[in-house]
């Protein structure tokens, strides 16, 4: 079923630190995973994606790790900046073509 209401997991870091945001997914048949960043009052913004035939993918300052054995996904942000403060969502695409299933989100706060 879907997750919690207002009590999203939170992560607070200092500017310049590395951040790791974790996500557990539910469908072992999911073949595509994606991370979105959502700022207040905005729609989700694509960060990085990974297909199930990979276990790591790197972008600019971000890395996504996929562990299919334990159905775990993580987003690593290097040298976190105040502008990275937002809610981060993982999403998975299962067997239904096109449909994404979203996790509950994690609030990242970066302190200057």
């Amino acid at each position: 079923g879907e997750s919690v209401g207002l009590h999203l997991p939170t992560l607070s870091v200092q500017e310049g630190d590395n951040s790791i945001i974790n996500c557990a997914y539910s469908n072992s048949a999911s073949d595509y995973f994606i991370w979105y960043k959502q700022e207040s009052g905005k729609g989700p913004q694509f960060i990085i994606d990974i297909r199930s035939n990979m276990d790591k993918r790197q972008g600019q300052r971000v890395t996504v790790l996929l562990n299919k054995t334990v159905k775990h996904l993580s987003l690593q942000i290097a040298a976190t900046q105040p502008g990275d403060s937002a809610v981060y969502f993982c999403a998975e695409k299962g067997t239904s073509y096109g449909k994404l299933t979203f996790g509950q989100g994690t609030i990242l706060t970066v302190h200057p």
Binding site: S3, G5, L6, Y36, P44, S96, Y97, G98, K99, L100
Partner: protein, 113 residues
Amino acid sequence: GAGVSQSPSNKVTEKGKDVELRCDPISGHTALYWYRQRLGQGLEFLIYFQGNSAPDKSGLPSDRFSAERTGESVSTLTIQRTQQEDSAVYLCASSLEGFQPQHFGDGTRLSIL
């Protein structure tokens, strides 16, 4: 280049009224999706359009919800006889031919009084 555009950005209406929300996808994107996001939660899939194929309506929560799409362009999501539980942000996304990633608009914030 324009992104996904949604209108109105905010809508306040009385319980029992019908509302219509609009989405203009990115030009050339044949796939279009609607999601609902309640306060402090993730996104719930509502409906998916891909070209001329029959839409995937599996996420629509009740028969009060319906959506249409004109060709590969504008889509409207209609909620009839609105209820307070319909209060949420309604987000639209589009992508190339059902591939990923999906690109989102900024949503319509719907408040039912």
